[in-house]
Amino acid sequence: MVNSNARGTDSAPPLSRIVPPTNQILKLLPRAAFDMLAPEYVDLRRGQCLFEPGDEVTHAHLPLDSAVVALVVPMRDGRTVEATTIGREGAVGGVVSRGYQPAFTRAVVHIPGSAVRISLKNLETAKRTVPDVHDLVSRYADCLMAQLLQSVGCAAVHPLEARCARWLLLMHDRLQQPDLPLTQEMLADMFGATRTYVTRIASSLQKRGAIASRRGLIHIESRELLEETTCECYNLVRQHFERVQPGLYPALEP
């Protein structure tokens, strides 16, 4: 399997529909590179796999609007644990490896929406011929790595409540609205924690007025309370994004 969503582009709406683009990388890409990149518009369905471990990765997917893709690590016991999520701030697939290498993780759509996909062949050509494209992709790769490095430390040291708060803040930044279409069960799976444990943490966050659980979604009641609850990891990574490539991290609209 190369790409489960390798659907034709016959039915795809013209790219003009995604202008202004709601992916931060697309926003920052020089317009002159667009022809070379030949981005295609695709839909991402919840649960859809963009690649599995061992697959050859041929495209980078750039989530638009509210779409969020997770890189998950399948473990021996059947659990799949999330290593990171990627939304409108980034791109999934071949960013570091430049593709045509076996994927290490599974990429699965957590929150459905649309995306733009770019063949890695085109991306490499654009990187070689347009220095700004190469620079932007390197800067994003650096920010993605920073996020992962911080998450290694965070997962080792910080309590699940702080990690949950960090995760919810990241989702809020990407979706740009307080209703996150997620259930507590999904949250538990992502953290590799038991549902009872995650339920306990969610109800403690709810009691303090940070979130409210509704049918099939988690509503962010107070961003401030989540910021008080989370660990330093949230801000450290955000600051790194802002330092390395201003405008890459999605800023909440006031």
Binding site: V73, R98, Q101, H134, S138, A141, L144, L148, Q150, A156
Partner: protein
Amino acid sequence: MLDALAPRDRRILVPNLRETTLARGEVLLEPGEDVMHVYFPGRGTIAALVLHLRDGKSAEAVMIGAEGALGGIISNGDKPAFAHGVAEIAGPALRLSTDALDEAKLRSPSLRDHFARYADCLLAQALQSVACNAVHDFDARLARWLLATQDRCGQKELKVTQDFIADMLGVRRPYASRIAGLLEERGCIKRGRGTITIVDRAKLERQACECYTYLRRHFELVLPGVYPSYMV
């Protein structure tokens, strides 16, 4: 990593490589400071990217030995470092300016490909460790860390203290010491003063989580022959 380069690519880098010796604890990268050099640990030398968290806590994010390099590997250099780059086990290393590496990558597509492949392996290491730290028991994680350390330093006796291990794995010192005692009781290791000796590697491998094998396999797929195997 450098040994696995094609001779032509190695010749491009050699004039700019500087030999150096890393002392234990030597700081190679400081968060916020621009990365100016790439370090290639020599055989037996181990470096790491380490995070200093609030309240004096710390944790190792990735370990790097002769299979790799640190400094601008993912970012292509000249950007502020995010983590602390530290030498964990002293030894020889080679140093290269990020400018010289960038120039070499422009000259040789195969050299650029080699570095992209290693960057992918480094990313895989971080991805696996996020998940591992989230769900695996500490005895399995400790076993994994000891195996990875032995692969890179190539010795039976690892010059690491239990306090150091606690700091790298982000746990309290008494806890690290208790679990190391457990691995000793199971006949995997022997604790000495400032050292840990791996007495039965096969047994230790059975204590480790699958993360150890998964990463080795990815290295073998992406960069065949580069991951240092410890020969019993």
